[in-house]
């Protein structure tokens, strides 16, 4: 499959105003089988995964006993005894090991299917222009693209809304890709996807969503069910929410000098470290370097100037589009 990585602008435009496609076969996929699989996941993640109907899709967060993110997963229920779990890059083994560790003879099995299957992301406001049958948000349907049977999953967040096309046999993926291109899908890149995501202030896997963050500060509140009862980490997360105990939050940063900013670098107020940059890109719509960062609450007032390793940066509210008028 070609993904035209050299055409950033066309990919960005398609993502923001048209319909883009992106090969995401490298992202993790796990087949969860057995009648107890969703119940086990429910006991270890923030959102309700029991009581789903066939074809329901739920985004949930596996958390540790101290309420930190283990992994964000999308649960797609195929039937009462089979679901597919979509994970981030290289996270599928972690998910399987985590769930297996707590499986004491229950009726469930978790098998990584990343290497044998494929996944193509469709994203952009004109996805319906492709002329293929698309599911409602939070649903999964079976469909056919260029004669190949596929599964299409509608995911509304936490990153850009997308339809994930799942292809059971990897060898069929190029045919599906070609069919989507022929239908008007514009190949895009992870870079273009990331720039638009940061402009919109949406959390990304392996950046804002990491095992150093809890789901509330990582912008994953929509995927936390406060009424579902116990799950690992629930006590900590409930306490953070009830007593408003979050010590830091996500903010946007603008480079005052126009110098590119560095992801995974520190932010200081005077000599004191008060935050860390999690994503850094050059915004296409704003024409300048921007970043997302976790910053301690006392330093999150818009207009606050902090010192980055690349020079001074100004704190702004997310998303950037609401904070800055393109000049």
């Amino acid at each position: 499959m070609s993904s035209s990585l050299d055409n950033f602008d066309a990919g960005y435009d398609a993502l923001s105003t048209g319909v883009a496609i992106l090969d995401r076969s490298h992202m993790g996929r796990v087949v969860a089988s057995g009648g107890d699989a969703l119940d086990l996941i429910n006991r270890f993640s923030t959102n309700e995964t029991t009581g789903l109907a066939d074809g329901d899709v739920v985004v949930t967060v596996l958390t540790s006993e101290i309420g930190r993110v283990i992994e964000l997963i999308t649960v797609v229920r195929r039937s009462a005894t089979e679901s597919i779990l979509l994970t981030g890059l290289d996270a599928e083994d972690t998910v399987v090991e985590w769930l297996d560790r707590y499986n004491f003879g229950e009726d469930c099995d978790f098998a990584v299917s990343t290497a044998t299957s494929a996944q193509i992301t469709i994203s952009g406001p004109k996805a319906t222009d492709l002329g293929i049958n698309l599911p409602e948000p939070g649903r999964d349907i079976t469909s056919e693209i260029d004669g190949v049977g596929v599964e299409i999953v509608a995911i509304s967040g936490p990153s850009l809304a997308s339809y994930e096309v799942l292809i059971d046999e990897k060898s069929q993926a190029s045919k599906v890709w070609d069919g989507l291109v022929a239908a008007g899908g514009v190949p895009t890149s992870e870079d273009a996807f990331d720039v638009l995501r940061v402009e919109l202030g949406l959390s990304g896997r392996s950046s804002e969503i990491s095992n150093e963050a809890n789901p509330l500060e990582a912008g994953l509140l929509p995927y936390v069910d406060f009424d579902k009862g116990c799950y690992m980490g629930q006590e900590v997360i409930a306490r953070l929410d009830t007593y408003n105990k979050l010590q830091r939050r996500l903010v946007g940063l603008l480079s005052d000098s126009g110098t590119a900013l560095s992801a995974d670098s520190s932010l200081k107020a005077g000599d004191r470290e008060v935050g860390r940059i999690t994503s850094a890109v050059t915004s296409r719509s704003l024409g300048r370097p921007i970043a997302m960062a976790y910053v301690r609450n006392a330093h999150t007032e818009p207009g606050t100037v902090l010192e980055s390793v690349n020079g001074p940066v100004e704190v702004v509210e997310l998303p950037f589009a609401a904070a800055v008028t393109p000049g």
Partner: protein, 119 residues
Amino acid sequence: MVSTSKPAIPANTIYITEKAASKVKQYAVRDDMKTFGLKVAVKGGGCSGLEYVLDIVEGPQDDDKIIEHHGLELYVPKKSYIFLAGTELDFSDGLNGKGFVFTNPNATRTCGCGDSFSA
């Protein structure tokens, strides 16, 4: 001199107090069970990752470890036993009682309700 301190539970067993064993027998008689034992196990869940499981059953499963105290057999699945060795199971009654109470030396963290732990 008679020592009043509580004896330590050996690390190679699971102990049930006479009071807790008696309570289990009461429940079994109430349910008209002729032969029974107490399944003591853990499963994944709760705020801290592992939850205790208690169930009055007719007999052991093939791979269960069988332990007897106060005329009551405890059936412990092997995978659970790793997390339960050295545990004492007691019963706390009364209006403010907690019911069956586990004291588990393997628990590195216990959640507020006392039903869930990490090991």
